[in-house]
């Protein structure tokens, strides 16, 4: 199936791309400070500018990059860094299975290409477009690639800015990580079960951080608290 067959004529294609560009602008603006923070954090963790940028180019997953950079800076081994990256990004399986319904008709190389760009933001935009109109490959492609380019460019800007700040830690720049995560976390705490999971993760992570070496507290807290959330979810569905 050719891409052109999915939409009837050139004018329609053009319009779909413009709608995608217009609708993703606020999201793109929101991504920029995260990318800049990512670039600065890389340098803070003693990574080179090139290493930091390469991570954005190849991995393209905000939260897991922040975590990976933090763990690299703490001198942790490759095994735990890659395992944690896998855990943080497991939620992509949900996004992917949700998109599978629509993407199944695409040729596999195009599916494989689009999958690389599957972020929370691209997913949210594409799904809301599906609810408003129809599934459009061009829409998904536009939103995905724009978000990717902006993420990489913002990382480059962060790396450039970061190298002008001699010792970012004395400016409290390492506080940027928890502050950035707070903005991501707080909208997720809208209902009771999420608050219970938050409480569990907070207690387990602090206790584990006190008694376990390295950053194992992240993995332990994530596994136990999310499992309890899942059990609560199951219990409420069966009630």
């Amino acid at each position: 199936m050719k891409l052109a067959n999915l939409l009837s004529d050139k004018k329609e294609l053009e319009e779909e791309a413009w709608v995608a560009l217009r609708e993703c602008t606020p999201v793109v603006i929101g991504v920029v400070p995260f990318g800049i923070t990512c670039g600065i954090m890389g340098l803070t963790a003693n990574m080179s500018g090139l290493e930091t940028i390469l991570m954005s180019v190849l991995v393209f997953a905000g939260a897991s990059q922040f975590i990976g950079i933090t763990m690299l800076g703490a001198g942790m081994g490759w095994g735990i860094i890659i395992l944690t990256t896998l855990l943080v990004n497991l939620r992509h399986l949900i996004l992917g299975s949700s998109m599978a319904t629509y993407m199944i008709r695409l040729p596999f190389p195009l599916q494989a290409f689009l999958a690389f760009f599957l972020t929370d933001e691209a997913y949210a935009m594409t799904i809301s477009r599906i609810h408003k109109a129809n599934y459009s490959v061009l829409y998904q492609l536009t939103v995905s690639t724009v978000l990717y380019l902006v993420w990489v460019l913002a990382t480059v800007v962060g790396v450039v800015l970061g190298s002008y700040i001699s010792d970012p830690l004395t400016w409290g720049l390492d506080f940027a990580m928890p502050a950035t995560f707070l903005v991501l976390l707080i909208p997720l705490l809208a209902e009771r079960k999420s608050l219970i999971v938050f409480g569990m993760a907070a207690v387990v992570s602090v206790v584990a951080a006190l008694y376990l070496p390295g950053k194992w507290y992240i993995v332990i807290a994530c596994l136990t608290a999310s499992l309890i959330g899942g059990l609560l979810e199951g219990a409420s569905e069966h009630a």
Binding site: F116, W171, T180
Partner: protein, 105 residues
């Protein structure tokens, strides 16, 4: 570029890509099992909490619940700003300013 860092980045890229293509390849016909779906639903809240709370309560590796812990004070203010504004620029701006001011005194 250090070899070890390059391989770690490559590994992160591979597992991340796996999570993105995996569902498409695996659940194309059957859908995600319900139990897994429930479990994965709370992964974002858990992991974000596990990253934020210890970095505010144990910034230097030991539990520090006091007014001398700048990370905790700035964190509480930043949480409030994030709750009210839902805005990354406002939260980072105010949080970092408080960190900077506290470090001056």
């Amino acid at each position: 570029m250090r070899n070890e860092v390059f391989y770690i980045i490559l590994g992160m890229a591979l597992v991340t890509y796996f999570t993105r293509i995996g569902a498409l390849a695996l659940f194309r016909f059957i859908g995600v099992p319900t139990w897994l779906n429930r479990w994965l639903k709370y992964v974002p809240v858990s992991i974000l909490t596990a990253l934020i709370v210890p970095s505010l309560l144990l910034p230097k590796g030991y539990l520090d619940i006091s007014l001398n812990n700048h990370y905790l004070i700035a964190g509480i203010v930043a949480a409030f700003v994030a709750y009210k504004s839902r805005n990354i620029i406002a939260t980072l701006g105010i949080g970092m300013s408080i960190m900077f001011i506290l470090k001056l005194f």
